[in-house]
């Protein structure tokens, strides 16, 4: 294939390092070059759908929370539409960005997103995926951004028929992708980089 020969190689990844905040969330680290930190707010006005909070932390192989990580999430709105120029199926909620960026707390390691419960999005064969949020994690010691997905523990039926979840046989590993709602309505999603509870990471 001649096309194959002309293909370029993707730029190789390198770690975001411990000072990723300077470039991505400068206000968080006291540099007021930009008006706001991009991705700090996902709800830009009254939104359609169920408003939810997602909280969690990222743990290393010793069980210690990362204190220097940056987390980004990307998701559909409540109707399953993306706020993106590439969304061809209809107009998404104009008050919902779909994209959030959060540096973990430098003392506790906690991240927090105020968002909406995503609607269902089609899979490559046209069937519907279970509601999910794409998560991307970078930090010192992470050579290439880690990609995972947040699914919702209470979406039992949708999860059972989901094209990705249904291919994960190991029950414990599957559980690593489920956010659990606590008594305050907050969805907890902890990420484990190693160990018996290691989170499933994707190559998508």
């Amino acid at each position: 294939m001649t096309e194959e020969n002309e293909r370029l190689k993707e730029s190789p990844s390198q770690t975001a390092g411990p000072y990723v905040h300077i470039g991505c969330t400068p206000n968080f680290t006291g540099i007021a070059t930009y008006e706001t930190d991009l991705g700090a707010l996902m709800k830009l006005g009254p939104v359609t759908g169920q408003e939810i909070t997602i909280e969690g932390a990222i743990f290393d192989g010793d069980g210690a929370p990362l204190l220097d990580a940056l987390v980004e999430i990307w998701q559909a709105d409540a109707n399953g539409l993306f706020n993106s120029a590439n969304e061809m199926r209809g107009a998404s909620d104009p008050n919902f960005s779909g994209w959030g960026r959060c540096p973990v707390d430098m003392e506790t390691g906690e991240f927090r997103f105020e968002t909406v419960k995503p609607g269902r999005v089609p899979w490559v064969d046209g069937s519907l995926q279970a509601p999910h949020i794409t998560m991307w994690i970078v930090a010192r010691g992470i050579n290439i951004g880690l990609q995972t997905r947040i699914y919702f523990a209470d979406e039992v039926e949708a999860n059972l028929s989901d094209p990705i979840l249904s291919q994960i046989d190991d029950r414990d590993r599957l559980t690593s992708l489920l956010a659990n709602e606590d008594e305050n309505g907050t969805h907890r999603f902890d990420v484990h980089l190693q160990g018996p509870r290691e989170t499933v990471f994707f190559d998508i």
Binding site: R7, Y34, V121, V124, I164
Partner: protein, 245 residues
């Protein structure tokens, strides 16, 4: 049917080419590298869409690190640089409207960050962050000062080569990338365990910017060229759009 629908729009990432999660000489990766194999799936709309940023988010000096933190009439200390390049995808197509965020140490190798303890001084006129959005032809440029190399707690005597950190958004979240730009001729490059996480000299070369005398501004600043390649789509969004009509 077309294979883009059957197999996802974006080409799979070449994981042999990209660095391993575990690079033992880079100590921080030891406890932060997942042990299980990544689960591979074709991209769906969740990764084929992305936030796309408009030029309206940019402030007047976001692209100029020499002055964007400096007091009125002053500028950052260090050799003045123009950094420029083109963002393309693996098919060679330019990527317009790609947001590039950069951050770096000052000329002495010191970052403006609460957790930074290197004894080199802060430059009161240098913040260290900037951002640009690529033009219709995928090109970008920003102005900065030459960052210094710096020591870091890895081995007993570890130094980072001079570098600029880059964060890049394409048109699909599958293309999301963070990397670092190095400078041609820097003798610290082959000694660095973070560079060493790259699997080949070709990969190191791609991240090494070259002096570009053609764009160097006489009596003002040297230019370095740094091209970026994001994951390629098997079809363009335009083709995708016309399909839906």
């Amino acid at each position: 049917m077309n294979d883009a629908k059957a197999g996802g729009m974006f080409l799979p990432r070449d994981r042999e080419w990209q660095p391993n999660a575990l690079a033992p000489d880079y100590k921080s990766s030891i406890k932060r590298s997942p042990k299980s194999k990544l689960l591979s799936f074709p991209t769906s709309l969740s990764e084929e869409t992305s936030p796309i940023f408009g030029h309206d988010i940019l402030g007047e000096f976001d692209h100029d690190l020499i002055v964007n933190y400096a007091k009125q009439g002053e500028s950052a200390i260090g050799p003045r640089l123009l950094v420029h390049g083109t963002v393309r995808d693996e098919m060679g197509r330019p990527v317009p409207n790609a947001l590039i965020e950069v951050w770096q140490a000052n000329a002495g190798g010191r970052y403006r960050h609460k957790n930074e303890g290197y004894l080199a001084p802060l430059d009161p006129n240098f913040g260290g962050c900037g951002r640009v959005i690529t033009a219709d032809d995928g090109t970008y440029e920003f102005r900065t000062i030459q960052p210094g190399p710096y020591p870091w707690p890895n081995g007993p005597n570890s130094w980072r080569p001079a570098h600029i950190h880059f964060s890049i958004f394409g048109h699909g979240f599958a293309q999301r990338l963070i990397t670092q730009m190095y400078f041609e001729g820097d003798t610290l490059i082959p000694l660095c365990p973070i560079v060493g996480a790259l699997g080949s000299q070709d990969a190191v070369d791609i991240l090494t910017a070259h002096l570009d005398m053609g764009r160097t501004i006489p009596m003002d600043m040297c230019a370095y060229r740094f091209d970026i390649v994001l994951r390629g789509a098997k079809q363009t969004y335009f083709e995708n759009r016309s399909e839906g009509l």
